[in-house]
Symmetry: C2
Subunit: 91 residues, 2 copies
């Protein structure tokens, strides 16, 4: 089966990558750290790859994480575009 990627997980991933802290990323996403931790762990488990190196106070992307970040950014932008595109149509 194909990997199930969704906008929420990708957004959690991208936000954490940008901010570098579960706590602050969670705050920005209006979630708890726990939820963000779950989401990232799920991604890592399904991919079988470590996406972040945990370094005490900071987390930093691994090389796999950097690769995914490029892709995730594109996917999220495409989703935004799609949404904006369709929003112009009246129901």
């Amino acid at each position: 089966m194909t990997l199930i990627l969704d906008s929420r997980r990708l957004l959690a991933f991208v936000t954490l990558a940008r901010i570098g802290s579960f706590t602050l990323a969670a705050k920005e996403l209006h979630l708890t750290q726990s939820a963000v931790s779950h989401a990232i762990k799920a991604l890592e488990d399904e991919l079988g790859l470590r996406l972040f190196e945990r370094r005490g106070r900071h987390v930093a992307l691994t090389s796999a994480g950097r690769q995914l970040l490029v892709r995730a950014d594109r996917i999220l932008t495409e989703m935004q575009d799609a949404r904006a595109d369709l929003a112009t149509l009246s129901p």
Copy 2:
């Protein structure tokens, strides 16, 4: 909040668009018609737009549906690429 798009829904949408039948699309996706119907309805409801015109035996894309199809194809390809990309890395 942002629209929650995931690979399963998009795949259901794209498959239905290509095949033009809930029953056959479901068969290809290894799901029931009911599941595909649910997925499409959820998309249509969240967007507030009709994506397909139901015409008895056949379903055809509306213009909104055609717009989404282009986007959905891109997003799915991006997801495939991301997956393929990461698959080359050994754990």
